[in-house]
């Protein structure tokens, strides 16, 4: 038994070491972003390794949500939005003309601030991403729905009730359903925009445990207002202030020994 734990530990350390050396999963190069004439992101450079959790923190309106939404091009729907610089996923600039936006989004899952399940059954919610790709085979769908719900730690609670309307679930369950829905299309990156801010503490801790689990398979970017949450779940933390990435580094270092005054003030709760 002890040997086994040891070997798991070793394996995890190995994993960690691998993660440090693997090529970057996500990167941005000199990114500026504007809404009309208002500049919301200022020369942001960030690199993210695969299978890590990166927390984006900062006061409201600092640009962190805009930054998050660059990676699945959700900002494209805002008429006045404009960006400069490169956003690179797996070595490819995702804003190139050739990139098909729908294809991109199948590889980049997103979880929103407020749980937003479709007004359909639990099953159809998870199957949606597959159905729009034309996958309607019942066995395949059953399999993936189950797998995704297990991964999002919701399966045990809903397995007898898959036909039930998703809106009848509690807020925390809805959010885990939204995570299952994102996982079903097998993305490699998951973007989370304050996924626990509308939830009670118990649901929040479930989501946090889940994030830790998901890290084994996915690269996760998470926007959060909750400092403790950032500290608990993330490997790296980026602090945004007025559109600039003020400081970016290991979470431990950012929280215990921030290099920048603004970071220190924000983390210690002096503003924001």
């Amino acid at each position: 038994m002890i040997m086994r734990i040891e070997s798991i530990k070793n394996y995890k350390m190995q994993e960690q070491a691998n993660a440090e050396t693997r090529p970057y999963k996500l990167a941005t190069r000199n990114v500026n972003a504007y809404y009309g004439n208002k500049k919301v992101l200022q020369d942001v450079n960030m690199q993210v390794r695969p299978n890590t959790v990166t927390a984006l923190i900062g006061p409201s309106g600092c640009g962190k949500s805009t930054f998050l939404r660059l990676f699945n091009r959700m900002n494209d729907y805002i008429d006045t939005f404009r960006k400069e610089g490169e956003i690179i996923i797996n070595g490819i600039d995702i804003y190139r003309k050739k990139i098909k936006i729908e294809e991109l989004r199948k590889t980049i899952g997103m979880v929103f601030q407020k749980p937003n399940p479709f007004p359909k059954s639990i099953y159809e919610n998870v199957a949606y991403g597959l159905r729009i790709q034309g996958i309607n085979n019942k066995t395949t769908l059953d399999e993936i729905v189950e797998k995704s719900l297990i991964q999002s730690a919701l399966w045990e609670e809903v397995k007898d009730d898959l036909k039930k309307n998703a809106l009848a679930l509690s807020g925390g369950q809805q959010q885990r359903l939204c995570i299952a829905r994102a996982l079903a299309v097998e993305p490699s990156v998951i973007l989370m925009d304050e996924p626990a801010s509308a939830l009670d503490p118990v649901s929040t801790s479930k989501i946090e445990d889940l994030i830790y689990e998901l890290k084994q398979h996915y690269t996760i970017l998470i926007v959060t207002h909750n400092m403790h949450q950032a500290g608990r779940v993330s490997d790296k933390t980026g602090f945004f202030y007025l559109g600039e990435l003020v400081e970016f580094g290991d979470t431990k270092q950012i929280f215990t020994n921030p290099k920048n005054n603004k970071t220190e003030n924000y983390i210690s709760g002096r503003f924001g």
């Binding site: 989004r105 199948k106 407020k114 159905r131 729009i132």
Partner: protein, 284 residues
Amino acid sequence: MNNATTNRIKDNLLKYFGIVCTLSGLIVLAIFIIDILIDGVQRIDWEFMVSLPSRFPEKAGVLTAWTGTLWILFLTAIIAIPLGIAAGIYLEEYSKKGRLANLLEINIANLAGVPSIIYGILGLEIFVRRMNFGGSLLAGSFTLALLILPVIIVATREAVKAVPKTIKEASFALGATKWQTISRQVLPASASSIITGIILALSRAVGETAPLIVIGALAYVPFVAKTPMDEFTVLPMQIFNWVSRPQHGFIINAAAAIIVLLCFVFVMNGLAVYLRNRGQKKIQ
């Protein structure tokens, strides 16, 4: 008398004033319906429903009129519904917000307010003369479709706008295209409101007389329309014709025809209310 008492009296006064205002409309409607029922209900029987019009009030019936109304309802619906929904979706989901969109919006709102007789004149010029439909069902349906199009467009837009943005975002984030999002999320979520708007618009079309008079619908049509190119009459035309006759028998016929028309409209409005309630339940 202290302040609280005066306030309470004011409160009560306003309440009773409100009740009187609410009732005044309903009482007038009730008087009208009772009056019509007293006059007309004796005349309604199977014979009245299946008889052709006639010079003699006792022999005259509303067969051509109600079949004409059904025809008009059907044709107007298949012309106006696809156009209205498509236009509403385009304006809400596809068109870029800007000066052109504003212009379109103002124009559509204005069109909804244009008097129906103007549509009649438009229909006369375009459908009856230019397109050579004559005073046919088709000309009448196109004219009425134009009349209710703005109402359907506005209803569709409002319904589509009411679909939460978060639902659309969730769909896009999973890699859905715009059309997939509209057809699988937006339309199902807004369907009951859209249908309600359409039914209310159609029930307005059923009651219209002026534009049909202008395009030359006839009051006396001695046969049931078989194709959309046939001449026709509708219930309001028949009523209009009968009330302007001097014989008392036709006045009774008119009352009976009004009851038939009211049944049409009440059933349609009832359906609209039912669908709206069902839609609200689904969203909750």
